[in-house]
């Protein structure tokens, strides 16, 4: 029927093969072969080796989609670091060739981008800012034996994916307890409610770690309300919360929703309540969306651009010079750190053998690297450097540094 017959079937099968063959033809590069691979970690995953007079470094960033603001910042941050080393003559005479790919804020496109970078010879992959995408990328990198340095993926289990998964940010494992401790000890809060963005793995993870530590300290989590990013009205959740008499509310989501939530909480009639959150709050805009109600709230951050450490100052100057403006979010700094820590490790690689393998080894040896967001040490810590976490207060003039916590402040973690 409808013009279908035997021949069309064959032509179809041929067409399919042809389509496949075309792609094969376009992309035939010298990758390693591990199709039909079993579940175990690959034995022959050797990663890439730098050849010629450049060292290829890949970056996956959300240049499109929901995470675009963070993606653009991480793109800029990495470029500052790469530009700096290349202007200084590169590493042992080899320039860094930065290859940027878009993840379109989606995990599977992030993975495609990663595989593309690896197939093009990247010895290391940088990114992403979101844990969900990073997890996919880490899977791909682990299979190929290429190290990955995550920028802002704070979810705890990301680094469990493989031995060469690194990150330059702290973990939710720390971030939650930091805020819990701060709430309990410094703010004197005892009855705290949570509001969690169910669509964001980041938010659910952070709420969980906050809850666990706060309860461990003797505080009470009196309620947890849920929403999804993209929603705009939260009166229903807040009305519920008000009836529970919280003295503090921990908002683990991103600032897009946090601002309006706090604003609406004021309208619902929540008074004298302290609002707290994680690094997802980090943005200048939260003051505009949260209005007066959000002033005097606290959240956990990686660094503060008003710190007078030399690293911060010089980073901000370089960023300003290159991009004509300051980074909108912390991701600029973290991305710079991710690139800088890789550059630092590349310098320690044997100059005749710059490869994924030697780089991973060098990364593991990183000890006390002075990053913009604080010292980074992988040595003895796997991919999770013991980073400090800052508690900052939102005032009408912006973020004001209030208290810093070290990992050592939490011996019970």
């Amino acid at each position: 029927m409808s013009n279908l017959n035997r021949r069309s079937f064959l032509s179809l099968a041929l067409g399919a093969l042809l389509a496949g063959g075309l792609v094969v033809g376009c992309n035939s590069g010298g990758g390693t072969d591990n199709a039909n691979k079993g579940p175990e970690a690959p034995a022959g995953a050797e990663g890439n080796k730098a050849t010629g007079d450049t060292i290829k470094v890949g970056l996956v960033a959300s240049l499109n989609g929901d995470l675009r603001p963070w993606g653009l910042d991480s793109d800029k941050g990495v470029k500052v670091a790469v530009d700096e080393i290349n202007k200084a003559g590169g590493i042992n005479g080899k320039k860094i060739e930065l290859m940027v790919e878009d993840s379109n804020s989606s995990p599977e496109q992030g993975k495609s981008a990663t595989e593309k970078l690896i197939s093009q010879g990247a010895v290391v992959v940088l990114g992403e800012v979101a844990s969900g995408i990073t997890a996919q990328m880490a899977n791909a990198c682990t299979e190929k034996g290429v190290p990955i340095v995550a920028i802002g993926a704070t979810r705890d289990d990301i680094t469990d994916i493989g031995p060469n998964v690194f990150r330059v940010c702290y973990q939710d494992r720390l971030q939650g307890p930091v805020m819990a401790k701060f709430a309990f000890d410094e703010l004197g809060l005892r009855n705290v409610a949570l509001m969690t963005d169910k669509k964001q793995p980041y938010s659910t993870g952070l709420s969980g770690s906050f809850r666990a530590y706060f309860e461990k300290m003797g505080g009470k989590i009196i309620d947890e309300q849920f929403y999804e990013s993209g929603q705009t009205q939260f009166n229903a959740q807040l009305t519920n919360l008000k009836a529970k008499n919280p003295d503090g509310i921990f908002l683990s989501g991103y600032f897009n929703e946090v601002g309006p939530i706090v604003k609406q909480a004021d309208q619902v009639g929540l008074k004298n309540v302290k609002y707290m959150g994680g690094d997802g709050w980090d943005s200048k805009e939260i003051l505009a969306t949260g209005g007066k109600a959000i002033e005097g709230s606290f959240f956990c951050n990686h660094y503060n651009d008003k710190e007078d450490r030399p690293e911060v100052k010089s980073f901000l100057e370089k960023f300003q010079a290159m991009h004509g403006g300051l980074p909108g979010t912390t991701m600029g700094a973290l991305a710079f750190d991710a690139a800088a820590v890789v550059i630092d490790a590349l310098k320690r690689c044997p100059s005749d053998d710059v490869s994924s393998k030697t780089l991973a080894a060098a990364l593991h040896e990183t000890d006390g690297f002075r990053g913009v967001s604080g010292d980074i040490t992988f040595k003895g810590h796997g991919g999770n450097p013991p980073k400090r976490a800052l508690v900052v207060e939102l005032t009408k003039d912006g973020q004001v540094f209030r208290k810093a916590y070290e990992v050592t402040d939490f011996p019970d973690l």
């Binding site: 009205q233 009305t239 003295d247 009639g269 505009a288 209030r402």
Partner: protein, 394 residues
């Protein structure tokens, strides 16, 4: 199903009236956007997937107008004040630009497809929607997402308090007392901080910490008494913004209904929606009527966008139209798509349903409930609540 939260344990029936009010206010946003959807669908039978993006553009227009009015991205001087005139300017600009954009999209993307199967226009609509999202992201400020400054809307923070049952006078006194005590404690703490010569209350000496603990205790007490006072009576809190949105959607519904029922273009719209070819044979300028419909529908999206952006302060990205767009479409179908009061009814119903789901403690299923209700309603009334399922002539 996740049974971690027990159903009835979390329910506080005292909150029900407030939650229903919340639901109505939430629904009025859906209703406002759904009106535009239903207009376009009613006349053209086209699911205008780009409606959400027109809504998004409307919000950006409001943003730019707000910037132009002096409420720019930079710091705003404290004496910079706004009034309703500014809001009207934003509203008119937003509606106007959206109407233009709607007509533009109709002309370039939908008109050429008019004699094609409807699914083809649907795909074009999806294409337009993607294009506006991604192309918008290149040119419009969205990194980081930008909100409209709250200062531009002086009514945003206001709340209408409708007392149903008076609150306890005793508790009021206690609350005031607690607040005074808290203020006192804050002052003491401030003095202590100044005396110790440190930057903030978080670097206090052990003695100073005691002062702070006292302040914390006072704050907790103030919170508790305040809440007790609030809960001693029964009053409905209605934010001005949402109230205005509610009244606007009802008003627009009445106006639209009047236009569609009692005016010449309205009659033409109905004629086109009933039978396209006959209408054109009867001398209706179908092209113009469709353009007009798109203009009105898009202008409504513009109105909704302006209110959403200024009253709720949602930060804008070029992707933020998608979700309200889909929700509004569901509301329109729920009420009976093509039916103007149906769109409002559907929107309000969805708002109430979503709110009640949150009320019983299932906020994580909030976005699903709209669809569950939709499916149930359509199973029993395939034409939606107020719509009539078309009986096909055989």
């Amino acid at each position: 199903m996740d049974l971690t939260h027990s159903l009835l344990g979390a329910v506080d029936f005292g909150l029900l009236p407030q939650q229903v009010v919340n639901g109505i206010l939430l629904g009025s946003i859906y209703a406002l956007i759904a009106l535009g959807y239903t207009m376009v669908y009613g006349v053209l039978r086209l699911i205008n997937f780009a409606h959400g993006e027109v809504f998004m553009l409307g919000a950006y227009v409001s943003l730019f107008v707000a910037w132009g009015l002096g409420f720019g991205p930079g710091p705003v001087s404290p004496d910079q004040t706004s009034n309703w005139v500014n809001l009207v300017i934003m509203l008119v600009a937003s509606m106007g630009v959206c109407a233009a954009v709607g007509m533009f999209i109709e002309f370039f993307a939908y008109r050429p497809m008019r004699n094609q199967p409807r699914i083809a226009s649907l795909i074009t609509a999806i294409g337009v929607s993607l294009l506006l999202q991604y192309a918008g992201a290149l040119f419009l400020p969205n990194s980081p997402p930008v909100p409209i400054r709250e200062e531009v809307n002086p009514y945003r923070a206001n709340v209408l308090d409708v007392p149903l049952k008076p609150k306890s006078a005793d508790l009021l006194a206690q609350t005031k007392q607690a607040q005074v005590a808290l203020d006192e404690a804050e002052r003491t703490l401030k003095d202590t901080v100044a005396a110790e010569g440190i930057k903030s209350e978080f670097d206090l000496s052990p003695e100073g910490k005691k002062v702070r603990d006292a302040r914390n205790a006072a704050r907790t007490k103030a919170t508790v008494t305040q809440n007790a006072y609030d809960q001693s009576g029964l009053s409905l809190r209605i934010p001005y913004g949402q109230l205005i949105m509610f009244l606007t959607s009802i008003g627009l519904m009445l106006i639209l209904r009047h236009v569609v029922m009692n005016t010449a273009p309205g009659r033409a719209m109905r004629a086109v929606s009933l039978d396209y070819d006959s209408a054109s044979l009867m001398g209706v300028n179908v092209g113009r009527i469709i353009t007009l419909t798109f203009a009105i529908g898009s202008a409504l999206a513009g109105a909704g966008a302006m209110m959403n952006a200024t009253f709720l302060g949602t930060p804008l990205t070029t992707f933020f139209g998608m979700q309200p767009g889909v929700k509004a479409f569901v509301a329109a179908v729920l009420g009976g798509i093509g039916n103007i009061p149906g769109a409002v009814l559907g929107g309000l119903l969805m708002g109430i349903a979503e709110t009640l789901v949150v009320w019983v403690g299932y906020g994580d299923y909030k976005d699903a409930i709209a669809f569950v209700i939709l499916i149930l309603v359509l199973l029993f009334r395939p034409g939606g609540l107020l719509g009539s399922a078309k009986v096909e002539k055989v």
